[in-house]
Amino acid sequence: MDSLQLQALLPFIVLASASVVIILLIAARQSHTVIQITGFLMMCLVVLAMWYVRDVLPRAIMPLLVVDGMAAVFTGLIVFCVLIIGLFSFIYFEEREENPKEYYILIFLGTLGAAVLTISRHFISVFIGLELLSISLYALIAYLRNRNNAVEAGMKYLVLAAMSSAFLLFGMALIYMDTGSMDFDGIAKQLQTQGHSPALFVTGIGLMMVAVCFKLALVPFHLWAADVYQGAPVPVTNFIATVSKIGVFAVLVRFAQAVQLQSYHFAVIIISFVAIVSMVGGNLLAIKQQNIKRLLAYSSIAHLGYLLVAFLPGNAAGIEAGMFYLFAYSITLLAAFGIVTMLSGRQADADQLEAYRGLYWRNPLMGAILTVALLSLAGIPLTAGFIGKFAVLNAGVQQQLWLPVIVLVITSVIGLYYYLRIISTLFAETQVIFPKEKSLHPLFVAGTYGALLVLLILLLGAGIFPSAVIDGIKNFLCQGFRIINF
């Protein structure tokens, strides 16, 4: 490994050292505030490191990793999400009795896992990244262990995630037998020759898709989503909904790009089917939900279905649309779960829809942010969600994927119904008196409100001036596409 390769890995090394630094701080008996601020600064350091190494990209670290433009976009998005989630975590965990310090170690380890997924080009690194992410998540979901439901959610996720990893490994083993190689380019090269057997390859891809669909919570592997979203602490729910999905989608895109997955007829049929049933199933299940965490879980199933429509074409336009969609989806969910975090009290999370009745009259800022976030999820113009959905539709229509596109449009209308139902609750009259929340350090309250405002500006900004974001993504991707030739 030469120095340029080390330089390209610098952001990931900083990210890995973040959890070590937190462990040392805990050993030195520092307070929650110190740990929180250090964690925040470490994440800022990761962003700085990414900016510092931008000229050495793209660079492959054979045989496991490749740091290119696409990895930079996805990692940047992941680190941004973790920055915001970290801020929300302080307010959430400061109110609870449990010791919140180790939480930050696990969050940073999970982030590292997702970041490794975005740069992996080999089955071993995919597996390590995925497990780093999932094992941190097992502990994170069950973190507030005195609430029975957290342990239940952790147990459910643990059993199902471990089983899906086994499916992934079985699929990888079959592909390894077929091609004799584990790195993506090697597999792609082997697939060009005639010596491989299609049956093994198809079975392997099928088994791997089971695991990917599970991690992305796509129908028919979505059953864990609602329970885990409901049982996990709100910042962890936020983490699952954004960071883990970004990481898994990144590796899916890279693998598909290497082996030209979309040129296989069976793969297109499987992915279209999963996308369609996810869009329909997610939206229908969400309609009658009274619990906002479960509702967002079902809506995230539908949104990942929309994302797969952008993945189907398999060309540059599709990947750009997918990235923009993920960006819009992540900031929207960050804002929505941020409000849930702010409203959650000491005893229970604010997950019942009743807790939101008349929110706008009690706290206009929070009400407005949640309204914009929900409108963005529904895909109303002037928000980021609309542009995201438009880009996805555009990519689908260009490839004449009529069936998924039509389902997307119809299910979006169904989705509008339950998002508007929440919004009407926000503006309803209320007589209930809500207890005043505990006063926290003013700096953190200001920080959290600041983060929410930044998200609001991003949501509206990306909705009104989307070209800035899209051009940025295109620039990074051009860097990424250069790597194919070396």
């Binding site: 094992i135 262990r145 089983m163």
Partner: protein, 111 residues
């Protein structure tokens, strides 16, 4: 031995694992079944690694073909150990909460 025997054995072990996870009610046994699935994959990988090595060696020349499969097995073993340690911790917490490791008790989360 032909490679088909290894594939059949590993597939059988894997299927036993899947059926066990889906039907057993005791959390510890569910865990054992997951381990069985992972170890079935390990067996498969070692067999394939040997197969690729033999194929490359038959074509002549000293070769490193097949090392990846064996390397992967080590990673799987390490990760499985980590997974079990976290999993058992969660089972212990579950036992403290409901005084049982029966997964049927995990039914509180619903609308």
């Amino acid at each position: 031995m032909p490679i088909q025997y290894y594939i059949a054995l590993a597939s059988a072990l894997f299927c036993i694992g899947v059926v066990g996870v889906l039907t057993r009610r005791n959390a510890i046994i569910v865990f054992m079944c997951i381990e069985l699935m992972l170890n079935a994959v390990n067996l498969l990988l070692v067999a394939f690694s040997k197969m690729h090595y033999a194929k490359a060696a038959a074509a002549g020349a000293v070769t490193t073909a097949g090392t990846e499969g064996q390397l992967f097995v080590f990673f799987i073993m390490v990760v499985a150990a980590a997974e079990v340690s976290v999993g058992l911790a969660i089972i212990v917490m579950m036992y403290r909460n409901v005084h049982s490791v029966d997964v049927n008790f995990l039914n509180r989360l619903k609308n």
